[in-house]
Point group: C2
Chain length 525, copies 2
Amino acid sequence: MNGKNIVASEYIDGNEANLKAVNPATGLLLDGAFYRAGDNEVNAALAAATAAFQTYRNINKDAKAAFLNAIADEITGIGEELIARASAESGLPLPRLQGELGRTTGQLRLFANLVAEGSWVDAIIDTALPERQPLPRPDIRRMLVPIGPVVVFGASNFPLAFSVAGGDTASALASGCPVIVKAHPAHYGTSALVSSAIVKAVIKTGMPKGVFSLLYDDGYKIGAKLVQHPLTRAVTFTGSYHGGMALVKLAQERQQPIPVFAEMGSINPVIFLPAAVEKQAEELAKKYAASITLGAGQFCTNPGLMLAIASPELEKFKQTLIEAISIVPSATMLTEGIAKNYSKLSSEVAAEAGVKILAVSGLKNQELQNQSEAKIAQVPAVEFIKNPKLHEEIFGPYSLLVVAEDIQELEQVIAVLQGQLTVTIMADKNETGQYQSLIHQLTDKTGRIILNGVPTGVEVCAAMQHGGPFPATNDSRFTSVGSTAIYRFVRPLAYQDWEQVLLPDELKDANPLGIFRMVNNQFTK
Amino acid sequence: MNGKNIVASEYIDGNEANLKAVNPATGLLLDGAFYRAGDNEVNAALAAATAAFQTYRNINKDAKAAFLNAIADEITGIGEELIARASAESGLPLPRLQGELGRTTGQLRLFANLVAEGSWVDAIIDTALPERQPLPRPDIRRMLVPIGPVVVFGASNFPLAFSVAGGDTASALASGCPVIVKAHPAHYGTSALVSSAIVKAVIKTGMPKGVFSLLYDDGYKIGAKLVQHPLTRAVTFTGSYHGGMALVKLAQERQQPIPVFAEMGSINPVIFLPAAVEKQAEELAKKYAASITLGAGQFCTNPGLMLAIASPELEKFKQTLIEAISIVPSATMLTEGIAKNYSKLSSEVAAEAGVKILAVSGLKNQELQNQSEAKIAQVPAVEFIKNPKLHEEIFGPYSLLVVAEDIQELEQVIAVLQGQLTVTIMADKNETGQYQSLIHQLTDKTGRIILNGVPTGVEVCAAMQHGGPFPATNDSRFTSVGSTAIYRFVRPLAYQDWEQVLLPDELKDANPLGIFRMVNNQFTK
């Protein structure tokens, strides 16, 4: 495994290879040594990306699609080694990573298809009206164009799907922007393997080499420098609120501010409506015990908050939930830091006014390190409403049940909720009709609203929205999952009275690419 | 004329009506007294807007279109009084304001049509795949939804088209967002007249009254409070760099940051290619003398920078330009502050290294105040490149000719240019082909690129992009002119496994609104 930094698709000699990957389950070091990047690598990566951008932005759409597909092929080609390494570095089980690998290559192919089809550039053409009175109308044609080098921060909780060749990289490359990845320190080896696949794809498909770089660091220095570099044009991040906002602040303080797309997680409230609880108490409890503890609760969309109205059936729901949570086996958390933080926050919460711990999993594996214990707590609505600390995410297999006395109190709870990635309603048949005002109120708080499902599981498709009002993300107008994620890295450019021969193919009269366009206010192809 | 603040479409009694409008041409006070808004009005306007949003966001699309058309009708109904007042307050001539009035009502009707057609919400539907392996796909449907109350700052240079019922207000109301306007202190009376038309339209079409408020202030206090108010969801501004960035900073410092759309102007470079100068020297000079001095140069797209390569024909171009500029009659500038600033900056520039004043208009009207003198200066490329002060906008009828020795030096000039609203290329027939790399370099610097035209004149249409890379605007991904300006005020919302009856009409299977949608990756209607 080559642990050197990659600048413009080439491995760069460095001074010291003193970064090591750790197996969180054992605490032992894994093989491979990784080079800490420095200022030289940051500068070289951005300079190469900027130079490559001049070619890559105008590359033929089929060539760009072939590049994305080649990355998927090369990643698939790594085989078992990749899944094994990702599991050793993240503590995540092999089947989960197998699924995540499919998602990762699927995302790359989804963006390849989007780019090959070509209509995503939103071409709009208003042709000249030379005879218009009092003034003629010029010919104006606009399309979306890429903005330039994008810095992608690998996320800890998806070592494949939100890391080196994850959704951020795939969508940025699809848009026509070069990418510089800051590898996540929790999975250096996985990053090295995946980046080798991208390097191969760059070479095989003849892309300008500056379209991809990857840098290692175990602290914040290189990440900060990447965000501050004057040639960087956008930044993507998935992680904690504090990490995300630190990057947002750095980007705003630049001489030329740039957009940061920070997905900072949320508590993903689930509202259990009364008839649903009445009729399906046990079924709901089992379904939610599974969702809360899936992947040791380390999903951005983990249901960290359950809202319900007090009732005899709710007691039955609670009882079933307690039983289910009590027998959830512990799981290895992603990193020692995440495990310690989970342990601390999920313990401290018990000291908050009105909070009662309902259940803690009794099945902790004592032979492994960084083991998560599933936990469920309860608090009366009145206490939740006045305690903002209870509104914050506890990253791990934890959820808080807020019990309201009646529907009015439930609405008061909803009123104080912050922005969320998801909101879920659990309702009995025809029950939603009675609660329309409540549902309406909830749509203001979220990017995705789910009926009778679980928030975990974020489908990668055109209609997905993974991004909600602040602080779930810093910019709710964009998504980090699904094909519209490409719109984070583009801006409109209008050509006025331009010559046909000089126009991009997307805007030529003859529509040689055969894409959907809006021409004089009509959609045509 | 009623000079009271308007909160939720009602005139509010205030303590003191001590704000007066001034005629910049005479320095005399105009009739009418306007009430300074205070904290109470700010709080009441935002509370009313937030309450109204809950109704207005879901209002029938035809009703919303009727409201926008009613505003246009009511404005038209004011008649001559509006144009006369706008002219007295702005110093702009009547024919220009007559044209601007047409543009203003045209914008409102354009958004009414967009809303009535309905496809702008970008509906995307991915239907469920219950049999998919290894996991079923849920049903996911997304569309764009409005974000909430928008604060609109009236602009000084378009008292109608970028003020109370201008493009920002029209696009925000079209999106489903309530609007609170901060009236520009340079045209209180125009603001009062136009806002009375909006109030009438609100009542006639039965809109929730909180959709519109208008506040007066002659300083920065009320504007700052509006941006800082926790219920504000977005801000629009057209004006100076310093004004725009002050608002951006306030918005970023909020507990919940919100987007600001600040159009901060630019110097709109015009590149005169050699053959164009050779063959059309005199014609180009006359065309540009007119564009530079149009409306006393007080357009965001005024051509403040001309780039050319030294040649004998360029001397002829200069000579004609000098003659044309020398006989441009002075015009009243919008405000005393703008006139003084123009006078100061256009005088100071003469002291910069290498700068030579080529021409100053000799026709200054001594009987009127705040008169603009058209001015043209010249500087060698080598001096321009090292002096950032010369890259800044001088708002008024001024332009700087930068003379390069050759094409390489011209490219060096382009390399140091900041982001621009527009870039214009003046080329002879077939000449563009030789300069493709230069043209390519220029597209990175601008939101709109024009061939053989003038940048002044911003067509209101679907394909228009009025927004360029920083510092022309703070966010080049959006436009403030044209129908896509509506996308500043919306975010995507996804419904997962939602009941048909509860879905918005835009997302129902039957497509009752008959709009264009992307269904399972196919555009359909």
